[in-house]
């Protein structure tokens, strides 16, 4: 909310200087978004007249303008489109001080400019059309100091007021807050006494007082042609509001900014009856709003109605037919209190947000309605002394019950961790509630505007605000406590660390994806959770797989000149289920291009393939109990048939890896399909992390103290026989410490349909050094096994 310093001063006896206010606001929890000077803070600007306009010789969009400043004619370069000969304009002479600083002599596209024709923005003026130069009233006196045409200099503060401080949403209330907390003297505004005995022109009825606990109405007549005084228009403009000039419209806004009470003026002539009924709308009832839109009201929406129809959406916006116009002579001023939830509900249902609904939703001071009505009447009488007051009514059946909070100073200190004296705490409470008795226990009843105070915790906050939050020390009485992580978090951290160590970069993608992402990656969107209010169709669904995001990352980097990408992401995937939704944490990644990626002077880089990724997974899961690769029973989604493996941990499936489905890759605007993808279930991993640390670390075997012996063997085997078959069969050889496959070869010298495998056998005994004869006999056994089980032949 905008706050004007000059307006605040109306309510404070000896106000602090404007420069000190931002810090004072912040100390009370009123966020200061900006603070700055406003009004005519410029110097060196006079009223000038445009006498002649020529084209700039060197620029199409610029003009050369002769400006008469009352004493001489100046040549000025101007870029605005709205200039015309004869206009009166604010003319800044060289040396003028404007919003952006001092105006210096300048050459613009080769032509010297002897000053500047100013826009409202350049003058630092708020609330004026800023699309071109500021055109002044034709009656403005030529050569006069332009400051005399505008509001005097002021300060504007833009405050961010949190819902708990909604009682500060006006100049009056903010001044009161400053006075309470900084011990300043508060000045109440001057209000006229309204004739209590005035009759009843328009009876008021409220069907449900819980939705409208108070309705103050004042009827006035003889107001035709009431114009908004300049000072009021100026303040409204400074607030960023656009004054209409019709006082009957502008006075409501003015009083709202001043006192915080939203009000509404109905044209009495257009109120059927005339009468006012505050009632819930019937289902399907229509109302034409002030802005001309037709509203279809739903049942229960609180409306103000006359005898025939709704004339206002209570607390939100007035209706079209009963609004005041220049011909209006008699008005009914509504100053009411509406239930927060009722106003919020109708604002939400109608989609209309207004300054009024903003305040009612946050709660207004029920004691303020009469004050605001009197203030409006006073301002109208000031402008039109002949106006008559014909009705003053106040439907206020039951004043609200206010809580009584026991203010125990020990408890307040305990909450804050402070050691404030009773006097310090009492001073704060007394400032807020001057009626508080010093007798203990202190029974604190908040003033009517402080509806946020309900508990001793609230009072603790007040004590801290009053005495300063710096009073809270940094001191701990916290006992030690054992801390633990979760299996999921620990498993995830270890996995991430290992992948990063193996050359993968961690990336973060959004959880939100588009329908096209599903289609591109051949995923089924009917399994996905859709958003009801997406920002755009690009972010309409929650992802069911990490693949779309990772392919996007791949594309992004290839488009920026990278040739090699190895990335991973841990995140959540979401699925719709029969009875709701399911969330799973996964870690997925992909690998593409030369590995290692950096070119090296010694060479040695090759294109990533299936075995690179398999090697990464071997390293990631190395040493983990029960880890193994298996062939998938069904083709994993988004992986290529025959180029995919399942990773298992014990009985559970821990993930998959393989060649990404070439269709998905091509659909994602990538040319080369050699993209290798893996996805690991973090739940499965976490499952294997359960139990103690000891349960998951590997158990080591002793190694032999005697030297090992190794031999190589090259055999030709049918290429359909898989390595794992051979490996398993040979595993039973006695004292075989290691079996390594050190070469696989097909091609020249190897018959069609076969491949040459070179195996390295390493034997080792725990008891002795093996002799040459020992090793030879084992190798013979090995060859026999290979011949018998696989039809292998020794390669010459």
């Amino acid at each position: 909310m905008k706050i004007l310093y000059s307006w605040l001063r109306d309510f404070i006896e000896n106000p602090p200087p404007a420069e000190e206010l931002p810090a004072k606001f912040a100390r009370l929890g009123l966020g200061v978004e900006s603070s700055g000077r406003s009004g005519a803070a410029f110097t060196g600007v006079v009223v000038g007249r445009i006498d002649k306009i020529d084209k700039h010789p060197n620029a199409d969009k610029l003009s050369l303008v002769d400006v008469n400043d009352g004493s001489a004619t100046m040549r000025v370069v101007c870029g605005a489109k709205n200039i015309a000969v004869g206009q009166m304009i604010p003319f800044a002479r060289v040396g003028a001080v404007l919003a952006e600083g001092e105006l210096k002599k300048a050459k613009i596209r080769g032509v010297e400019s002897e000053g500047m024709i100013c826009s409202a923005g350049e003058l630092g003026l708020e609330g004026y059309d800023n699309s071109g130069i500021l055109v002044l009233d034709p009656s403005a006196p030529l050569g006069a100091d332009a400051r005399t045409l505008f509001a005097p200099p002021d300060w504007v503060f833009e405050l961010e007021i949190t819902p708990n401080l909604a009682y500060c949403l006006s100049h009056y209330a903010l001044a009161r807050e400053l006075c309470v907390f900084y011990g300043l003297k508060f000045k109440e505004p001057a209000l006229p006494e309204l004739p209590r005995a005035a009759g009843t022109v328009a009876p008021v009825a409220v069907t449900d007082p819980s939705l409208c606990p108070r309705y103050t109405a004042v009827v006035m007549r003889g107001l035709k042609g009431a114009r908004t005084p300049d000072w009021m228009a100026e303040r409204l403009r400074a607030m960023g509001s656009n004054p209409k000039g019709n006082l009957l419209i502008d006075v409501s806004n003015y009083v709202m900014y001043e006192l915080g009470q939203p009000t509404h003026c109905f044209d009495l002539a257009n109120l059927a009856g005339p009468e006012i009924k505050v009632r819930p709308a019937a289902d399907g009832e229509n109302m034409k709003a002030l802005d001309g839109s037709e509203l279809k009201l739903s049942a229960g929406t609180l409306v103000i109605a006359d005898r025939e129809k709704p004339v206002a959406l209570a607390g939100v916006m007035g209706g079209f037919y009963s609004s005041v116009a220049d011909t209006t002579d008699a008005i009914l001023i509504e100053s009411a209190s509406f239930a927060q939830s009722a106003v919020r509900a109708s604002s939400r249902k109608s989609g209309i947000k207004s300054e009024s609904s903003y305040r009612f939703e946050r709660g207004t001071d029920i004691e303020l309605t009469m004050k605001a009505a009197r203030r409006i009447a006073g301002l109208l009488l000031e402008a039109v002394p002949s106006a008559r007051i014909e009705q003053v009514s106040d439907n206020f059946p039951e004043p609200p019950r206010l809580p009584v909070v026991t203010a125990d100073p020990a408890r307040i200190n305990a909450i804050l961790g402070t050691a404030m004296t009773d006097e310090k705490i009492f001073a704060c409470l007394k400032a807020i509630q001057p009626g508080l008795s010093p007798e203990k226990p202190w029974k604190f009843t908040p003033p009517s505007y402080r509806r946020d105070i309900e508990t001793v915790q609230d009072l603790a906050e007040e004590a801290a605000r009053y005495n300063g939050y710096d009073l809270i020390p940094s001191a701990s009485s916290m006992p030690v406590m054992p801390a633990s992580s979760t299996p999921m978090a620990e498993a995830e951290a270890e996995l991430r660390g290992r992948l990063a160590a193996l050359g993968f970069s961690e990336v973060y993608n959004y959880d939100l994806v588009s329908l096209r992402d599903f289609r591109n990656c051949l995923l089924d969107e009917t399994q996905a959770v859709e958003l009801l209010n997406p920002l755009s169709s690009d972010y309409q669904y929650l992802r069911t797989s990490m693949l779309p995001g990772l392919l996007r990352t791949l594309r992004y980097n290839l488009n920026r000149g990278r040739t090699s990408v190895a990335v991973f992401e841990t995140g959540t995937v979401y699925h719709r289920t029969k009875d709701g939704k399911k969330e799973d944490r996964v870690c997925a990644g992909l690998m593409y291009g030369p590995f290692p990626e950096e070119q090296h002077w010694r060479g040695g880089s090759e294109m990533s393939d299936f075995y690179h990724l398999k090697g990464v997974m071997q390293a990631v899961f190395g040493g983990r109990r029960g880890f193994r690769f298996e062939k998938p029973k069904h083709r994993p989604a988004f992986l290529q048939e025959g180029a995919a493996l399942v990773m298992k941990l014990g009985a559970g499936e821990a993930g998959v890896l393989g060649l990404a489905d070439p269709m998905a890759v091509i659909n994602s605007d990538l040319k080369d399909t050699q993209v290798y993808y893996f996805e690991i279930s973090l739940a499965a991993l976490a499952e294997s992390w359960k139990g103690s640390f000891r349960d998951r670390v590997p158990q080591v075997r002793a190694v032999s103290a005697f030297p090992a012996a190794w031999r190589d063997l090259s055999v030709l085997v049918d290429e359909k026989r898989e390595w794992s078959e051979l490996e398993k069969d040979l595993g039973s050889l006695p004292e075989l410490a290691r079996l390594d496959l050190i070469d696989v070869y097909k091609g020249k010298g190897v018959p069609e349909g076969q491949r040459s495998l070179t195996l390295r056998f390493t034997f080792s005994s725990m008891e002795r050094t093996l002799t040459d004869a020992d090793v030879s006999s084992r190798m013979e056994k090995a060859l026999k096994k290979l011949e018998a089980s696989f039809g292998a032949k020794l390669r010459g």
């Binding site: 912040a26 100390r27 009370l28 929890g29 966020g31 949190t162 819902p163 909604a166 927060q340 939830s341 939703e361 305990a414 909450i415 804050l416 961790g417 508990t455 915790q457 609230d458 906050e461 801290a464 939050y469 809270i472 940094s474 001191a475 916290m478 006992p479 406590m481 054992p482 801390a483 633990s484 992580s485 979760t486 978090a489 951290a493 990063a500 193996l502 050359g503 970069s505 961690e506 990336v507 973060y508 959004y510 959880d511 959770v529 859709e530 958003l531 009801l532 209010n533 920002l535 929650l542 990352t553 992004y556 920026r560 990278r562 190895a566 959540t572 709701g580 969330e583 090296h600 002077w601």
Partner: protein, 348 residues
């Protein structure tokens, strides 16, 4: 052998070493060292004989033996230095400035590193890690956190709703903060409780340099008997200093979150200008950075979790992880976190 004989042997070892070392050359000095000072060298053998002497004798002879050893070692080193021994010959033909082999080097995301660091820091203060779902029920995200339906504070959190209903028939939502984990941790739990919950949150905001509809938060919660705002300040002090150094300062200003009372905004002295302000673009010359929201757990929140606010009290705080990561890694545009440009991430 008696003590006198031993002494004589010792002095002979010393003499013969002296002549051997003076005649030693670079190629045989190692032999001399082995002969006299090796594990089976003459001095070692002599010292081994000490076993048969009385304790008094052992003391004296041992001292003499060790004195000689020191002398011999010194003489040996001196001779080595003379001969220029110990200096390896420079290897020829290596261009030492050529790059080493490019072992694969990956990286962790700055948000991960920031969250891990904050987590580690707070775990040392006894906070355990807690988790919660992203698709959340209105009850946990709002209602139990003292945001009644139709409360204007809900406006500040532009919420994404999903086409999935919760158990009570309400639309589920993407959590707008990590605070629902407070409720999930506290509800029906045994107290005291001290948890942190790092994680992803969602708000329907347009993306720009300082906004994102996906971002991360770190929630902290401590509930016990007699917890005060001084404890809160101490905790934040400790963890901020751990992250930004011991000169970092923390201050509180009043603020509002429905689930705490009193509420505070936590500001940290600017890590760039050191709180000295002047012309600092990071803190806009205020000397302070708004880093966290915090406060004492609201009695209504304790009640919603089945705990008696007269008996228990607690503090809670929440931090935007992106903000921390930007300050720590010098990242100026929030969008960078989700662009995944490897030219950037490979620098990490």
């Amino acid at each position: 052998m008696n003590a006198a004989e031993w002494k004589e042997k010792l002095s002979r070892v010393g003499e013969s070493f002296s002549s051997a070392i003076s005649g030693a050359a670079a190629d045989n000095i190692a032999e001399v060292e082995l002969q006299y000072l090796g594990r089976k060298g003459e001095l070692a053998l002599l010292l081994r004989d000490l076993g048969s002497f009385t304790i008094e004798e052992k003391k004296e002879l041992g001292r003499l033996g060790n004195e000689l050893k020191s002398r011999l070692v010194a003489a040996l080193e001196a001779r080595k230095a003379e001969l220029g021994g110990g200096k390896a010959k420079a290897a020829a033909g290596l261009d030492l400035t050529l790059s080493g082999l490019p072992f694969p080097k990956g990286s962790l995301h700055p948000i991960t590193r920031t969250m891990d660091r904050i987590t580690a820091s707070l775990m040392r203060l006894g906070f355990s890690v807690a988790e919660g779902p992203h698709l959340e029920e209105d009850h946990y995200n709002f209602e139990a956190l003292n945001f009644p339906p139709d409360h204007p504070a809900r406006d500040a959190q532009d919420t994404f709703y999903a086409a999935v209903k919760d158990g009570s028939g309400k639309d589920m939502l993407l959590r707008t903060h990590t605070s629902p984990v407070q409720i999930r941790s506290m509800k029906g739990a045994a107290l005291p409780l001290r948890v942190i919950s790092p994680g992803r949150v969602f708000r329907a905001e347009a993306v720009d340099a300082s906004h994102s509809f996906v971002f991360h938060q770190m929630e902290g919660l401590y509930v016990d008997k007699g917890v005060s705002m001084a404890d809160l300040r101490w905790t934040l002090d400790a963890f901020i200093k751990d992250l930004f150094g011991s000169s970092a300062k923390v201050r509180f200003a009043p603020s509002y979150f429905p689930f705490v009372e009193p509420g505070a905004q936590v500001e940290v002295s600017c890590v760039f200008c050191g709180g000295k302000a002047g012309k600092c673009p990071v803190c806009k010359s205020t000397g302070w950075l708004e880093m966290l929201g915090a406060g004492m757990v609201h009695p209504n929140v304790l009640k919603a979790c089945g705990h008696d606010p007269e008996k228990w009290s607690g503090f809670a705080f929440g931090a935007g992880v992106e903000r921390f990561a930007m300050l720590l890694f010098g990242i100026k545009d929030l969008r960078m976190f989700y662009e995944n440009d490897l030219r950037v991430w490979k620098q990490l």
